[in-house]
């Protein structure tokens, strides 16, 4: 009546009066019972062919617990329909079947209930609120640790600060150099085309000088440092939290804020202005190369004009953003690291968040600076 023949498994069901004889041969294991699973549903379809199912399993040369569970669930459904199952097995199969029938637990899957609109909005709102609260607490701790530094300068961890300076800033100079040099090249190249049309070649110096020193170099440098060093802070501290190193430090009386957090923040606040200065130099170098190749402005001429046209204040405005950007990047990176929970996934989540939030906050901060400087007229 129903029959199936596969390469490794076959099943034949035959109705004989009141019974259905089902012969299974081949490999009846977790790997291929999916082949016969639908057939079993067919066997139980209405009208039920008979009252008794006889399972002949002697020819099933491999038989595992998944197969036994398949028979068990078939039996259970058959019983609800008023039928019974009989199994003709060898000892080994019987042992596996017996083990499956001996149960004192409630089997069942997991149901996933998607949250409704209100519930998901609420969940997100509570999470955001919690994370704002956590950040306020973080800043508070930071402040009290800073007070300890100021009142007891001996507590300042100079070694850690030097180390953080090297790790997060000095080692980043290569990538900063390449990125900002290329930004200078691209910017100059794009403007060169436009300026040539008006014969205003020399104004490339004014344009580049002001835009790079004031805005672009600080912003690009901050974005690169956020991606490179802010994320590194988050990952380092996050891993230390998972391996319980932070707890170990606390029990030994080493305040993580004094040993880990403040040194990194101070390092980045000190170094960010210098990094911006370095970025200024590299970007102008890029612009200078393009100016001489594309517009025929010699390096000497470029520098003379630069001296004349670009006021010193533009440089100071750009550099003055450094400590603020440094604080934003370092504190968000470390804060995210401290938010890591006791599972590996949250390291990834928090590292990503640290970069996204740091860049976002840097841009906001930059906008605020723009408004302030414009309003006070510089």
């Amino acid at each position: 009546m129903i029959s199936f023949s596969g390469r490794t498994l076959s099943l034949h069901a035959r109705v004989q009066g009141d019974t259905v004889a089902i012969v299974v041969s081949g490999e009846m294991s977790v790997k291929n019972i999916a082949l016969i699973e639908p057939l079993l549903h067919q066997l139980l379809e209405h009208p039920l062919p008979s009252k008794i199912f006889e399972w002949h399993l002697h020819e099933a040369n491999r038989f595992d617990s998944a197969a036994a569970l398949l028979l068990y669930s078939f039996d259970e459904k058959a019983r609800l329909l008023g039928a019974t199952c009989r199994f003709y097995t060898n000892d080994n199969q019987q042992k596996i079947i017996d083990a499956v029938y001996r149960r004192d637990y409630q089997s069942g899957g997991v149901t996933y209930r998607p949250l409704g609109l209100v519930a998901s909005v609420g969940t997100i709102a509570i999470k955001k609120y919690q994370s704002v609260k956590d950040f306020v607490a973080f800043v508070g701790e930071l402040f009290s640790a800073l007070m300890i530094y100021l009142l007891h300068p001996k507590q300042i961890r100079f070694k850690e600060i030097y180390y953080a300076i090297e790790e997060s800033s000095v080692n980043a100079l290569g990538i900063i150099a390449i990125t900002t040099f290329l930004i200078g090249v691209v910017l100059a190249y794009q403007s060169a085309v436009q300026l040539k049309m008006y014969g205003a070649n020399i104004f490339i110096v004014d344009m580049l000088g002001i835009s790079v020193l004031r805005e672009l170099a600080p912003l690009i440098a901050a974005i690169v440092i956020a991606g490179r060093s802010g994320s590194a802070f988050a990952a380092q501290i996050g891993v230390m939290k998972i391996t319980e190193e932070l707890d170990a430090m606390k029990t030994m009386g080493f305040d993580p804020y004094l040993f880990l957090v403040l040194p990194r923040i101070i390092a980045l606040m000190l170094m960010m202005p210098l990094i911006i200065f370095f970025a200024d130099v590299m970007a102008m170098l890029g612009g200078m190369v393009v100016a001489s190749v594309e517009l025929g402005i010699s390096a000497q001429l470029f520098l003379d004009r630069f001296n004349e046209a670009v006021a010193m204040k533009h440089f100071w405005i750009g550099v003055s953003k450094g400590p603020f950007f440094g604080f934003i990047i370092a504190s968000i990176g470390i804060f995210r690291g401290l938010m890591v929970k006791n599972d590996t996934r949250s390291i990834g989540v928090n590292t990503t968040k640290s970069v996204v939030e740091a860049i976002f906050m840097v841009i906001i901060c930059d906008a605020v600076f723009s408004i302030i400087y414009t309003n006070i007229g510089i």
């Binding site: 699973e37 617990s65 569970l69 083990a99 637990y105 899957g109 997991v110 599972d343």
Partner: protein, 244 residues
Amino acid sequence: MYPVIEAKNILTRFGDTVVHRHLNLHVNRGEIYGLLGPSGCGKTTLMKEMVLLQRYQGGSMNVLGYDLNKITHKKAQELRQKWGVLFQFGALYSSLNIYDNIALSLREYTTISEALIAEIVSYKMDIVGLEQCVKEQYPSQISGGMKKKAGLARALVMDPELLFLDEPTSGLDPISAREFDALILRLREHFDLSIVMVTHDLDSIEATLDRAAILDNKRVVAEGSLDAIKATDNLFITTFFKGR
């Protein structure tokens, strides 16, 4: 009784450090086999070589009839479905809940219906002694002992022929450790398993192992039943089994 694992003349090197040299051993079908030895002797390394996580530099290894020296990707994938591995700390996937951790292989390698998957997962959880109510929990929410049990249920989900256990009783309290020993014996009974385990736990060694290999000085210094091993003259063996 042909061997399920046979290692011949294994040579393992990390840079200049030799971990194994001329290492030989074999594991018979249906037995519980222990890899013992002082820390740093390369027990875990050897087990990693058996499960294709690490390459050895010389010799030959045969697992379940597959020659690891010239195994193809396809054959390796086939072999990987025939064994289960329990890592020391469970190594559950932290982004999945316990139920999905256990069900993963079934969903990936078979087309079994969700209803039957639920049956299989529940059964495996029951066998390893895991409460059904932790199904929806995530690995970070359950205790270390439960993680091990869940890891074991995940290792057993495809009804493997061969089971590797890395320090199964470490980090468990003595009562749970003895329960785990009983569980290992019961599993072998139920599933016709061959089991290879790395362990330091003397009670566990006495209670479960049929045969064992002692790794010391880069090779196997003794292999066989526990009585045979205890009779061997070796500093590690005499100190380790002192008073037993």
